[in-house]
Every structure is written in C-alpha cells, then in structure tokens.
Symmetry: none
Subunit: 244 residues, 2 copies
DNA sequence: TGACGTGGTATTGAAGTGGTATTAATTTTC
DNA sequence: GAAAATTAATACCACTTCAATACCACGTCA
C-alpha cells in the first residue's frame, strides 16, 4: 500500500491547487481499481501524513470525489468506494429509483387509469369481495426517452379512491394515504411479446420479454397491490444478491 | 484439543480486528473438520482463556459464523456445529433443492465436463491470468423427466482439479474442497431460444427463455464460479421476496 | 432444588474516523 | 491598490468501532 503513495505525490511548484491535483489522481486510482467496491479508502489523516498536506486539503479533494459519486463517507467510520452500477437490488423499489441509480432519466406515460370490476384472479389474490371495485393503472416506463417496460397495476379502490389523481409515483401516493407496501412477492418469467405488447414497446412480435408479477403487502400483511411489468430484455436486467 | 489452540493464535500487530481474525480461523477449522456435525464447540469462556481475549471479541467472531450458518447456539447449553447438509440451502441454491421443495423429482444429465482455456470474459470476471485453465461443466436439468433448464458452469481449474469426478452436486463438491460459494450476484434476463438451446430443451426456436447469469464468490470475496442457466419459462419461475 | 456452566446483554472507555469553525496566506478581481 | 475570493493550516467536536468488564437468564445434573 505504501508504495502506492508515491504515485499520488503532489507538485507544489505547478499552480493548480493541491486539492485538485489530489482529486484527479485519486479518481484515476479508483477507476484503475486500486480499491474494491465498499473497501475503505485510507483515512484522511493517513493521507495527510503520507502526502505532507493538511486535512482540509485532503478533505476538499475527497469532497470532489463525493460529488462525483465515486466515494461515500460514514462519520466516525471511514470513507468507502461506492460500488459501480452492479449494486444489487434486493430492496423493494419503484422503477424510477432503479433507473436513476443506473444513471438513466426515468419517465412515465399514462396509458389508462380506470375504476372497474376485478377479474376472478384479482378477487382471489387481493382477497376482495366479488362486488368490490378496483383501480387499474396502465403506464409506459421510459428511460432516456426509450420505452423500457409496460406496467399494469391493480389495487382495491378503497386504497386509491380516485385513480385519476395518481401522479407518477404510485408508491409515494400509497404512503400518503396510509396504505404503504412493505413487502412484496415477485415472480419473474420470460414471455414472447404479444402483438399488443410489441406495439407498445416498439419491438418485434415474439421477442423475449421479462415479465414480473408482483403482489404487494401492507404492514398488516394484506395484499393491496398487483402489478405486472413487461420489460424489454435489452434494456433492463434484474439483479439479485443471494446469500447462503 | 489444546494443541489446536496454537493454530488459532491471533495477531495484535496487524490491523484487522481480532474478532474478524478469529472468525476466519474458526471458519477454516470448521471446514477442515476439526469438529463433527452437532458436536459442541469449546465454550466462549474457554476460547477467551486460551486466546487471551475478551468474551465480547469471541462472541463477535461466533456471531459471524452464526450468520454464515456454520454454527448454532443454544442458550444455557452451548454452541454447536450445524450439520453440513443443511448449510448450503437457505437461498443460494442449486436447482435440485428448489425443485424438490416444489414437489418435483429433479435429475441432472451431464452433457460435457471438460478442462479448457477461458474466454476473455471469463478471465475478467474470474480474475484469472490469461494462461490459466478452467473447467466447463454443461448439464441438463430435468424435473419429473422433462427438461427444464440447460446449465453451463465455469470454474477455475484450481478449484476443481478434476472435472470428471464432479457428481451431481457441484456445490457440495466445492464445499468439500474448501472453495465454498458464500455469496452470489445473479442477473436475470429474457432471451429467445437459439436453435441449439431449443434442440436441447425440446422447445420451438425463438421461444422465450429465462437466462440467469450468476457469479459466485467465496468467503474471501473471490469470484470462483460463473454459471449461465437457460430455463424453460413454462416450467420454472423465479420467486424473490422483496423488502423495503 | 441448588450449584455450576452455558449463552445473552448492558455499560463502559479508548482509539480512530469524518465534520466543522477559525484563522492566515495567497491569488483573483475590480 | 484595496476588496473579495480562494487555498491551505490548525484545533476542536461528534460519531463508530473495537474490546473489556460485569451482570443476567437459561439448561443441566448431582
């Protein structure tokens, strides 16, 4: 490790500020893979000692890397390399958050928002009475302007009295009405694109798509959300971290 | 027993925490078969005395082994080695266990088991030197006699010196050679069946299949396994539980 | 039933980490 | 040339982690 410091030596004679020099060299080192994801960087103080600079200088350099998202800091604990795009998502997240994390600009377009009667499958899965009503929300999911998925959500009308007032974030809306989805079971299957899906997603009929069916539960363990998501396989992949 | 303690001696001078050092050494010892299944480990207090550490330190080490499923504790009674058969299966799992749990009768058929040179992708993902060798294992997965998936695994030859001796359970074999897969990252995508896959799986060309690519890591976080699984979508679906 | 040995937990303190306020020197700007 | 901004140093604060001690709760067995 110590031998590496030499590659970080700064040059006082040139008139670019020290903290900028350091930030650049560190960014290079990180991209070159000096440290692994989630590994701790040398502490600010040891950096200072090794390079004969003050802590403020070292911190300013690190501030830049922080802004670039290369590192993250934990008070009292250390500075760590942020893992690259591969960050596993075993958490329950909306599409938007996932895409943002990957550096895309997410958008949604509503295809329809209606209040209607449920199918028998929905009655069973959501545990409804046969004459209850549900809201069915259908939307396109875009990333950087390209269609990535078609999503159809069904919820009991009681959770979402007025479907027309739901804006882009369904989960945020549910939170605000006190019906937060806390846990979900998700099935993943592969299907061939039907003519309707192919049209909506802008891909050839028969192309393989990922279909994810999710049942969302609230804190009381009632099923309150049924969502089918049809993803273009060439733009999205589903990453999971598994443990023994 | 006492002579064994020497192999567990910790090193105060190095700056990895004592409890981590101990956890690693104990894990090694367990995998090396120092104790039998269901046998009691030395008590926490005797560990402390032998290694001149505090009980908190010993406990923290044991906490890690507990998390890894290597041991189990019984209040007032002792700490015990968990039998091997149960360890491998909490979530990271072979096909066989999943299918059995669903009530199918799982089988495997070997298509090929060879020792060969790695592709560039494999070199990168497994962190190999270019002239290293790998074992490539290809097999059919059956449930109740029907082909459900084609699986291609690639491992460094150093982890699996003789591919011909691997029987049905790859993970069990890895455990016995001390290269257990502890964690994995898995991508799920949809693809259209190529002619070769269609032939092997007995489905039409172009049919949608689930493709799962998994990178398996050992306890030291080295990538030691690359597995691509191509599943028939009509027989298998991948279920995940998500949490907020 | 009690004594003893087991794992479980709360509290503590030292050492190491990032966070921030203050100040001085330098460069930039008008 | 003077005011303002930038750069860098120092000193002190707050949080985490590691490890130690002391005490609690459960099982076992004479």
């Amino acid at each position: 490790m110590d031998s590496r410091w030499t590659a970080l030596q700064l040059d006082e004679s040139v008139n670019t500020p020290l903290y900028l020099q350091l930030a650049r060299k560190l960014a290079e080192a990180i991209n070159a893979g000096w440290w692994q994801a989630d590994e701790a960087l040398p502490s600010e103080r040891s950096l200072c000692d090794a390079l004969a600079i003050s802590r403020v200088t070292a911190r300013k350099a690190l501030d830049i890397l922080l802004e670039q998202g290369l590192i993250s800091r934990r008070h009292g604990s250390g500075t760590f390399i942020t893992p690259k795009l591969e960050q596993p998502l075993s958490r329950l997240n909306g599409f938007s958050e996932v895409l943002k994390a990957k550096g895309f600009k997410p958008e949604s377009q509503w295809l329809s928002r209606v209040r209607t009667t449920p199918t028998t499958e929905e009655i069973i899965k959501l545990g409804l009475s046969p004459n209850a009503e549900v809201c069915r929300l259908k939307r396109k999911r875009l990333a950087d302007g390209v269609v990535m998925a078609i999503e159809i959500s069904t919820l009991p009308a009681s959770c979402l009295p007025d479907p027309l007032r739901v804006d882009s974030s369904l989960y945020a809306h549910l939170d605000s009405t006190g019906h937060s989805v806390v846990r979900a079971l998700q099935h993943v299957r592969a299907i061939n694109a039907t003519p309707e899906l192919a049209e909506l997603a802008g891909i050839p009929v028969g192309e393989a798509m990922l279909m994810m069916s999710r049942i969302g539960f609230d804190a009381a363990n009632n099923a309150i959300e049924l969502t089918d998501t049809y993803c273009r396989n060439d733009y999205y992949d589903f990453v999971a971290e598994l443990k023994r």
